[in-house]
Homo-oligomer: 325 residues x 2
């Protein structure tokens, strides 16, 4: 059996990322068998191990070496070894970007099947001069069809649009773009184990527009997009009232809700799966997952961060990779 | 002890309203002591009792009589006695409106402390020629400051706007209107037992706009509105990221989330409190509650409707009335 190679990045060194990564990778026996490759400055890792009283037993990673299960370290030098936890800094922004970039280079080169990313700080990336809004945004330059999705035991959600003002997100709900999205999402889900999946498309307006009385997008854009996608063989249905479509999908293994804007999807997802939700970027030639929470600067360095979502992100990456996508 | 007088209306005779009302009022011993006055055509009530094999033991209501705990019937004649369950009809629209109207007349005249309404069909009201979008909309003509709110064991949500297209709801997020709303909500909550309450105001954009990077309403409208309300002594805070404000409020007795549009509030509320949520209209001189679900035409007449939300609506009406509002 060939184990998958899964890159892991610790995110912003001032947040809880290094802590949840070390907590998770210090117990590889509870994770699926894989080569877990941590892309980080070795001084940050050593400091975190010491602080938490945990040991990674990481070996140096050699991309050309034989594939083996275990924990490996790919040292990415940075200047951030001594940054105080809990604060936004250009140094930490620079470091977290370099860790991620190094892992992406390996994944794009076919030397990793998956990348799992702990949270970065957008504010720190800003300070360091990086223009991207986050991991998905960075990947979208190489893969414009990248899709942000969220996975938990009970609920799966894909976002038609994410980091844009609500006013713009509403204006972007157009038939052609939505057909493209449904087609891409269906194609991407085809590589994910556990399918086939069906797509439940949310409406935009209260009660899905109530036949035009509460908005016209359902009749003019969303309904026609669902019909067009179905005509191509995409198993989509809707539009459903936004306030009940998640209940409709809850607990159904095959159901993926298509949310039309960031909070439509994330209000539901975070409420249902707060501590164990996973963010997965679909539509890439490799798997990318991350925990569904931020840097949590307020509790960084205290040793109290909950690593469940990180653990689930790693598990999901291993499951997705197992299909040889 | 003076018991409150609580009007109950069965909603659309073709929906599950008569069933959940008869199920609930047939067991008055599990409800708070009150005079429960059912406003309905006595033939509908008799037919439903027979169908379910339950007895209400309702006495004729006399508004001038002494106040007593028990179940009473205020006969409102209609033409709907024979309508088939599960279908939208003008007759049932007319009937459900007349039942509600009769109860509201009594409440406005000070002869009821509360009105609890089972679901009507907006489509049936349309067919019957009534222009209102629902109970709250009808009440808003007498009480323009009427506020739609949702109550469950764990979560309380008030809606700044409700039945309007999302595009319009976004445009309506303006400082002055929001200050007025926060002020009215705070005043209305002052009469509700269980307070004092604090108001957690949701943002409009992803991550509450992220300091203007994902939308400007938080900085230009919502933040200033919260500040202005606080300056008047209204205990408001925010704007908070919409996808976590509900988690922040969950389980906190005193917290009421202010949602800026219909689905922002109802996606969260329905997910958390599907079968037991209650809709309460605030800002009226009497209490008005209803179950948080619709007519459920698909299961009407089958005897399988879940009456928990109706029961909770009645309980909440009794609790609110106890304060002598």
């Amino acid at each position: 059996m060939t184990v998958p190679r899964i890159g892991v990045t610790p995110g912003d060194p001032g947040g809880i990322g290094p802590e949840i990564v070390v907590k998770t990778l210090s117990r590889p026996s509870v994770l699926p068998p894989a080569a877990y490759v941590l892309f980080a400055d070795s001084r940050i890792v050593a400091a975190e191990e010491k602080r938490l009283g945990l040991r990674l037993a990481a070996r140096e990673w050699r991309p050309e070496g034989p594939r083996e299960a275990g924990v490996f370290l790919a040292h990415v030098p940075g200047r951030s070894g001594a940054a105080a936890p809990g604060s936004v800094s250009a140094e930490n922004g620079e470091a977290s970007f370099r860790f991620f970039e190094a892992a992406v280079v390996e994944a794009r080169g076919g030397r990793l099947e998956a990348v799992v990313t702990a949270p970065i700080s957008k504010a720190a990336w800003d300070l360091a001069g990086f223009p991207w809004r986050g991991h998905t945004d960075y990947l979208a330059q190489f893969y414009p069809g990248a899709i942000m999705s969220f996975w938990s035991e009970r609920l799966k959600v894909a976002l038609f649009s994410h980091h844009r003002p609500l006013r713009e997100a509403v204006a972007a709900v157009r038939k052609d773009a939505l057909v493209d999205f449904l087609r891409s999402l269906h194609r991407a889900l085809g590589k994910v184990p556990g399918g086939p999946f069906v797509l439940l498309v949310a409406g935009l307006n209260p009660h899905a527009g109530e036949e035009g009385r509460l908005g016209r997008e359902e009749e003019e854009e969303i309904g026609p997009a669902v019909d067009a996608a179905r005509a191509e063989g995409v198993p989509a249905s809707g539009p459903f009232p936004p306030d009940t479509v998640f209940l409709r999908a809850l607990g159904k293994k095959e159901a993926v809700v298509v949310a039309l804007y960031h909070d439509q999807g994330l209000i539901a997802f975070k409420l249902d799966a707060f501590a164990s939700g996973v963010n997965a970027t679909l539509g890439l030639p490799f798997v990318r997952t991350s925990p569904d929470h931020g840097t949590a600067f307020d509790i960084a360095g205290k040793g109290v961060a909950d690593s469940r979502s990180m653990e689930e992100a790693i598990r999901l990456a291993a499951v997705f990779s197992a299909n040889g996508s």
